[in-house]
Amino acid sequence: MQRIYIRFLMMITCASLLTLTGCMASTRNLDTEAETHYDATYDFSDKSQIVNRLVTPLLSAPVFPVQEKPLLIIYPVVNETSEHISTGGITDEIRMKLIQSGRFRFINESQRENIQKETDYQYQGYVDPAMRVEQGRQLGADYILGGTLRSIKKEQPRQWRLFKKERIYYSLDLSITDLKTGEIVYADQAELAREASQPIIGW
């Protein structure tokens, strides 16, 4: 009886120690450039990979002469995947890298309404006329930059197994269209594919 009692106590102690170890919270910073994936779906390291893959060739594309600084306007990348992905992050990063390169200029499409609102306010009589912004002086874009993000997902068929695998392929097609002629003057694509497996049975 005493042996059973001691064994029972030891089991409870071990279980408690295991639980306590599992319950300790921890935090750490991650390197945004390093590739870290929990599963096959899109995450922040995919965004960096896609942007770098698209921006580097664009900077040396011969269609845009080095001495000119073409004026671009970005329209949002269309999400045709089966995940809720904020493509604004991709376009913002592409725009930032292109501006920082000094080779391109951009129209801020997303601020047009605010610009109009502010200008209207300035002309309502509240602002010193000498300080009002001159209307009709906005720049016109030469090119439209847009794209589409697509994915193809495949799951392992149902069968007797301990792990479930899935594969996801992503592609971002980028294009630059001449606003005057409607011609696509530049097109490129970034792809990535990943396979992840997860156990079907857990505790």
Partner: protein, 370 residues
């Protein structure tokens, strides 16, 4: 000397949590018309036990939807969608508990039909907010659910028509055509081709919910000496009434696609019958073994154990109860401008849509519930 095995059934009884009272109260308030109170009772599902969390998200999401809070409803239903994905893993501890006690102690993972309808209402929410890209994402996720359980969900024509609409909105006519073809096949042949929006016209799209989805009840069978088999089934409800849309007293004759949610739910549950019957059989064997083990040393204890184990055998009758009994997708082409419409459910109840502005070349969406 005390035989601790006698108290095993009592111990089992004690570890079972109480059924979720807030959910029941919220449903009562929902059907009595006080949606705000129903939402307050659920309090964003804080304090709901993990085993009923998915059910809470589903109910709360739908209550918010019919309150017109589409953004908040989307947030909650997205949590439900993510929870469904996380729950795909089979938990040994949970399965062990349900094999020993009953299916109500396990985490509720939703029927196949309910998992589909989370995405259905997400699509509707995104369309009502004119977020066509997000609606398309949900449409693709819905197709994944259809692919997993094709036979169980084939009767849900409404969701299929909604998927096609999402493809149309994103200018993907080939994908839309494929979905209409599948829909026509599921509906028994023919062709389904919505009218295109022509110059001078716009389209009004109505998502009409009618009645109440049937609830689950248990059907019990007892075998000697004390074996009880308790199986869940859906009650039968009358099919949804015909919807008519009128303007200036005349019928507009919209394109209508209707789904009987009760029929789809019943099929979905029946297709799962092998799963729960196998577990029932296993559980009956284990309970009989426990009772006999107790009876070896204590005959009164055996009677006590048998009584408790008999009473513990309850079917899992949890289900998403705020769903309508039928869903109709109605698409009406109207001249651009302001319109006053009447939507009637079986000539008994009428909802008036006054002052609906239909812009040229665009779609306007409304969600109604009778």
């Amino acid at each position: 000397m005390v035989n601790f095995k006698v108290f095993l059934p009592v111990f089992i009884l004690l570890i079972i949590g109480c059924s979720s009272l807030p959910l029941q109260k919220a449903r009562t308030e929902f059907y009595s018309g006080d949606l705000a109170r129903a939402d307050n009772i659920l309090e964003g599902c804080n304090g709901i036990s993990e085993k009923d969390l998915l059910l809470c998200y589903m109910e709360n999401g739908l209550i918010l939807h019919y309150m017109g809070a589409y953004e908040e409803s989307t947030e909650v239903l997205l949590k439900a969608s993510q929870l469904i994905k996380r729950q795909e893993q089979i938990s040994i501890s949970e399965q062990s508990a349900s094999v020993l006690i009953n299916d109500r102690v396990s985490i509720y993972k939703g029927e196949y039909s309910e998992r589909l309808w989370v995405h259905t209402y997400l699509m509707i929410n995104f369309l009502l907010q004119y977020k066509y890209e997000s609606a398309l994402v949900e449409a693709k996720q819905t197709l994944e659910v259809y692919d997993k359980y094709p036979e169980s969900l084939a009767g849900d024509h409404f969701t299929r028509a909604l998927i096609a609409l999402c493809f149309e909105n994103m200018n993907l006519p080939d994908d839309a055509r494929i979905e209409y073809k599948k829909l026509a096949a599921e509906m028994g042949g023919g062709q389904i081709t919505p009218e295109p929006i022509v110059p001078g016209k716009g389209e009004l799209v109505l998502f009409i919910g009618q009645g109440r989805v049937p609830t689950k009840v248990s059907s019990d069978v007892a075998f000697p000496p004390s074996i009880r088999i308790s199986i869940p089934r859906y009650t039968y409800t009358s099919p949804a009434m015909t919807v008519t849309v009128r303007s200036d007293g005349g019928d507009l004759n919209p394109m209508k696609i209707t789904a009987d949610l009760g029929k789809v739910a019943r099929k979905s549950l029946n297709d799962r019958s092998a799963q729960y019957l196998t577990r029932q059989g296993l559980r009956a064997g284990i309970k009989e073994a426990i009772a006999q083990e107790v009876g070896e040393t204590n005959q009164v204890g055996e009677l006590f154990a048998r009584a408790i184990l008999f009473l513990l055998e309850e079917a899992d009758t949890r289900s998403w109860e705020t769903l309508p009994g039928g869903l109709t997708l109605a698409r009406i082409l109207l001249d651009s401008g302001v319109h006053n419409l009447e939507v009637c459910s079986g000539n008994l109840r009428t909802i008036y849509l006054d002052g609906i502005d239909i812009p040229q070349g665009r779609r306007v969406y409304r969600s109604l519930r009778f």
